[in-house]
Symmetry: D2
Subunit: 348 residues, 4 copies
């Protein structure tokens, strides 16, 4: 559109070329609606295979907030709330979509987006020791994101610990994988799709930020967790008549393992950007291992940087600095990165 650089987020372009091609190829094929078409059926099967979870229920929804609200409402009982990181997406940035379903988000202190199994355990222990706990919102689910809003990762050990406390208390563990491809692409990651299917009770594989035009794939390893999921999706306005639009995209994302490597260049570019920033003397806010780069920027420079680069001022750092964020994606090109590196090198 213009010669600004776009590093504000990972949903700034259309779809991965393979996906857009597939949409073109299949465009005039006739199929039945509501996800019973062969593309969707195939996509579900590929995802079950990638998760090594042959019995999983897989459903395709449209966007992240919608998916979170629908899944959380479907899993929680009437009197329950969901434990989440105090700065988690559902706690802060979904316009109250969870509360709109009637359920409270129970915030737990977090560090760089992550919550600890021991804190969950403490919360649950304290809850059941409170003599008035029947007057309080019953904790019925634990929500985490992988990677988190800060791009950080739960290790397999950490996820196992969370899984254990959840299973001890019979509370489903739910993973929001809006950016899951960038976790899978990180060299620091040791959590596979099969681990997610084994250690959690429900999770979603993000499409919107990971190469699709739109779409998120919900995986329920043990389908008994959610009865009548299809009707619930419809009730929540999350059912596409033309379900194949999602099916085709995920079928492509899971054909030839595309999803496993679609985030690789993004993560690698993020690494280059981090180095350049540090070299130029911009302190990182912390060393995020996926496709997001957080650094500390003088407020006085915000304006002039925005002229060149569409990026995100993530949060206040102190009175004179902000935490700025660059975000790469599957669509980021060598040229974009080189141009950004030049901006960084020449910035003052």
């Amino acid at each position: 559109m213009n010669n600004r650089l776009y590093f504000a987020s990972d949903y700034l372009e259309g779809a991965h070329p393979k996906i857009i091609n597939r949409l073109v190829e299949t465009n005039l094929m006739h199929t039945v609606g509501y996800g019973d078409d062969p593309y969707t059926v195939s996509a579900k099967e590929r995802i079950r295979k990638a998760c090594v979870c042959p019995d999983a229920e897989v459903q395709f929804l449209v966007g992240g907030t919608q998916t979170n609200a629908t899944v959380i409402d479907a899993v929680l009982k009437l009197y329950q709330g969901v434990i989440a990181a105090d700065y988690g997406h559902i706690a802060v940035h979904e316009a109250g979509a969870i509360e709109y379903t009637g359920h409270k988000v129970l915030p737990l202190k977090s560090e760089l987006g992550k919550i600890k199994a021991e804190d969950v355990r403490k919360y649950l222990e304290d809850f059941y020791q409170d003599p008035s706990y029947t007057h309080m919102v019953n904790p019925g689910m634990v929500y985490i994101s992988q990677p988190t809003e800060y791009g950080t990762l739960y290790t397999k050990e950490e996820l196992t610990a969370l899984s254990e406390v959840c299973r001890e208390y019979k509370i489903p563990l739910y993973v929001d994988g809006a950016r899951l491809a960038y976790a899978l692409a990180s060299v620091e990651n040791d959590v596979t799709l099969a681990d997610l299917a084994r250690l959690t009770d429900v999770f979603y594989i993000g499409g919107t930020k990971c190469g699709a035009l739109l779409g998120e794939a919900v995986v329920v390893p043990n389908p008994e967790l959610i009865s009548h999921f299809f009707t619930i999706i419809k009730q929540h306005g999350a059912l596409l008549a033309k379900g194949r639009v999602l099916g085709i995209q995920f079928d492509e994302l899971f054909r030839d393992n595309l999803y496993m490597h679609i985030g690789k260049t993004a993560v690698s570019y993020a690494g280059e950007i981090k180095s350049a920033l540090q070299k130029k003397g911009y302190p990182l806010y912390f060393d995020s291992p996926t496709n997001q780069v957080f650094f500390i920027l003088e407020k006085s420079k915000v304006e002039s940087l925005l002229e060149r680069v569409e990026y995100s001022n993530f949060e206040q750092y102190d009175d004179t600095h902000v935490v700025a964020r660059y975000c790469t994606s599957w669509a980021t090109t060598r040229e974009d990165v080189d141009a950004l590196l030049e901006v960084i090198a020449n910035f003052r």
Copy 2:
């Protein structure tokens, strides 16, 4: 996929070639998210022009049920319900999505999907004459669809009458235009987009069934009707991060008046199919003026017809007959229709 014929609905294919081409062309352009991109801005402007309503708020949502639930919840006050045809989509086929928002659907008797202004008036008069009306759901909106689920059309006169009673009682009138392109394409139609903008308080222009991959355009002629609509859309899980996916499609649908004639062949083919059925001795259930053909079929023939044609058994007619429905669409081809005409001619 195979050589069956597909006349079951109007969401069985991808998008109109012009739309899919535009998605391809724009695919790697960078834009900001959430509908602030130039494609979406342009699409909104084109729709305002087509509706001759320069101040209208236009918002793009993903699907019909979602749109209905979000709009109705946004417009109704806490204590209100929505009057709708007793067989209307929101009353029967949306899995309780409206009730899920906390509001009752107040069913009104209908004929071939249409409700009458005089019946709405009677309902409102009776309501306010009931001494216990403060113990009842306050009617806060009237919902109709154009065309209706039966493909029938409100005339400009009928719509004007509905508009008048709504305005007299200060109740917003909302039109579900899931298949609006097929109304606009019907020779029997005398209601324009400008009429809708003038006579109603909110309506949506259907994309999913009218040539888009997905998407519905909500038009609010007087934006004061819904405050903070953007946040409400987000709260209802109806906001696309990659808003341009909708913007691009509607920008194309309203470029060169595509939306005005995209339904023309479908309506014309429906006419041919009606003639062929009548000629062959299959009574029409009634003469539907848009892209749906309802006819009466012996139950004993259902199986063998389904082997050849994907169609819809709409409802029970009597003990030995069903009301069957063929549905054409923008994607229906001359070849498809000829093949169907042959099926009809040879059917026994």
Copy 3:
């Protein structure tokens, strides 16, 4: 307050003298809150005995609409609705309190307030035969009232039939007993509290209209039906801090079998009123067997009757007549009835 006669409803006075005395006696006793006091514990035990259902969970709520909304929401699953008579209280007169919980009331045709087991069966059969039933509200409960809003009674045979179809389809059967004392007091009644406990899944024993200041006792024969009911009651704003206010009243209502005969004079007086009306030439709308008398009254006489008697104009009969209702209660006195009989005898 004045010398008008009050026959408009059965909630026009305070509490049965035994109850008010008991409230006075216990007034300054100290007890713990939220229903753990000894009065409430005793009341629950007496109700369990009266229902011959030693394992039942009993909870006391405040009013009828609140009880219906809380119980129905507690029992239904997210995607379900409740089948009810089309003129049932929850369908018409509770200001959408059920829809407010997110669930649709699925209206079933009724006769004098009653629905038929065969119609429920037909509804369920048709529902599951509809190919698009997963797009519709799943029927998850059947709601009836005993006596109905028309004062009519389900016989044990009819209740058994309803119970059977509900159990066949694994759908809980719920009975609203707002006026249950008047059913139990009717010579035409053959349904006992034990029958209710045996044939239904949850029911409530009305207090407000049956001698208490306020309060309704919910009985759940198999407590597994509703998990965490206490917290749900709190969440629905239906938990009294001073729970004993309800416990004391129901303890008295179920001491010495008061509840079994508290409605007897009301039903007997209603019989006298019916005879007087018929003798005077006022046709009964139908012969209601409990404490309500429905008769047909010329509209022209409404005004002058209202001057003497507070009664209820129940519904339109025809252009020149209404269905009028007299309602007796536990508080109706011989003097009141004699005065009303005189009004009737002299009315013109």
Copy 4:
């Protein structure tokens, strides 16, 4: 019931003798239902007078959680949440009743139950400066309690400051007065009912904890704030058929200024108990000015104290201590206090 002492809360007895007498006196009077009876009409008028607010709408509801949920839902717009102290009753102890209405409770840091006007201002300023605020829950109301859950009081100056920031941002200010009588009875209090009516947009005058069997009186100084409040109350299951049960009680509470002094002995006794604790060497947690006494107790003594006194272990203090709470009420007698003082004097 036994010779334990009851200082656990202020809802452990029935009603003030004047109220119970009035209920007895009026018991068999006939009145119409739903709050149109003369007692309720009179009670409303007395409350308007006491608040020096002749145009206020007054409605009687049953309990605190119900009142909070109904009022907050009635006032907030669909997309809004309510700012409250992070340890406020609605944030912690109402089983998610507010979230159940679809609205988020937005927690603000508090000190001894109180929030500061400057923190509210900061919250609102930050909110509107956040570039993504339209993706977040819009703050639509400020909720405080007077006295707070800690028995502390807002001064007139503090309340004025809160009122000013709310009016600047056009956000209603709501005061939960569950224990308002104990605020009005405190020598430290300088906020009158007229101040509440002048400085806030809606508040409730607590009955349940302040001498009534049950009931809370909602006051809306400018009735335009809440349209159709009656229907909303019904919809929320908060409408009593026998409305006079509340009307009679509040009519008595506001006859002869009973409400203004009903809390006086309770506050005075609390003072005596504080002195006795301090004398005996039990540190107060802080010096609460109303009817609650918070002190620090060794965990090892909890058991033996509970044998003698029903009191409340309010929260954890440290590993070996709890914050214990004694609560007095209108029903606390000289004898009760003397007995407690003896327990304190002899405790070890």
